[in-house]
Symmetry: C2
Subunit: 221 residues, 2 copies
């Protein structure tokens, strides 16, 4: 991670139009990736991505993010088994042509991705002393999600793809990874070199769902 000197820290850098335009391109080219090459990723790169993730805001500065690098082959196999079971159950909720289309979608890259990173939220963090979350305890998990978004953007800037797998049973994942009882499962990330680059989301590309217009999203009161 870039470290500025103390003097330089007093003055923020200039985020000029060139940077802002490239930041927009980064948002556009960040994709949820499910098609990975098997090339390994350096452990230091993952450490750097986690460091950048934790620059996200957190409620009461509680920093409840807990990252688990899943390296053990047996644990990975159990995770993949869990995904397969959950995905079959999800497929069973669709009928006819929709079920056929669902079955053709590739929804995770668990078998190919060189890096598996499970992300949890410590529901009882000491840090922050409870500040800011009395009426909305869910903001703890939300803090973790902001960190994941930082991580996905930082990864894409480095040519790496990130895929968020949510078709998993949260309590099974906590058991498989043997984490403390107060850690809530938030996200399972596959990370690696993407096989391909494209601008349109997988589910748009494969005819599942188009983008909504801005008028559906921004309202006034």
């Amino acid at each position: 991670m870039t470290r500025s000197s103390v003097a330089a820290d007093a003055v923020p850098p200039c985020f000029d139009e060139t940077f802002t335009a490239l930041l927009t391109e980064l948002f556009r080219w960040r994709r949820d990736v499910r098609r990975f090459r098997r090339d390994p990723v350096h452990a230091e790169t993952i450490e750097e991505l986690v460091r950048l993730a934790t620059l996200a805001p957190s409620v009461g500065h509680s920093q409840p993010w807990r990252f688990v690098s899943v390296e053990d082959a047996g644990r990975r196999k159990a995770i993949i088994g869990n995904f397969n079971r959950c995905n079959e159950a999800a497929l069973a909720t669709f009928d006819g042509e929709e079920a056929e289309r669902y079955a053709r979608l590739k929804l995770a890259g668990l078998c190919e991705a060189p890096v598996h990173l499970a992300v949890f939220c410590d529901k009882a963090p000491v840090a922050g002393r409870g500040l800011g979350r009395m009426t909305m305890p869910e903001t703890l998990a939300y803090s973790v999600v902001g960190a994941v978004q930082n991580l996905a953007l930082a990864a894409r800037a480095r040519g790496l793809g990130v895929g968020w797998v949510s078709i998993l049973d949260p309590s099974d994942i906590a058991t498989i990874l043997d984490v403390p009882a107060e850690w809530q499962f938030v996200s399972y990330l596959c990370i690696g070199q993407p096989e391909e680059e494209h601008l349109d989301p997988e589910l748009e590309r494969h005819g599942w769902q188009d983008r909504l217009p801005q008028s559906a999203v921004l309202h006034r009161r």
Copy 2:
């Protein structure tokens, strides 16, 4: 928003080391802001920020984010009243020196920020057809949080500050803003020019909570 031509869209831009270093600086200099100048912000800027926010990933491409620009003075007053009541209740949970320290913190910039943006999650979106969230319905709200993080980064790159207010009663906010019953309140954002720039989070700066070491955050299995 930058729009590339179709031909240019086929090839991703080069995110070089200069960009990546500046992206790291953007993560570092993005702060949760509570001290705003009253200078107005153009409506087009807010529209652009919302457009960039919605480039975040969403579960099943469900795009459940719903942004409400709160412009009516009466509604803003009701929101501020809600914050004051919730903040007094939170203060009452602390004792002695800790309560004094809590009372001195500035936890929102609702009175000064020129833009108020409430962010909701449509819990029953048509888009996405339920894909990806059968075992983890909370990923709908998580998708909205990723969009908020995009928005905060894009705002900071444009010299704007964003403050996330969570000391609010979610059901009261939905009532005050008269939104559909299926919209879940996720986040209330104050947006405007920050009064000051600094690298350390407000709560670190004012002695409430320090940063955790990486060893507390990254684990192996």
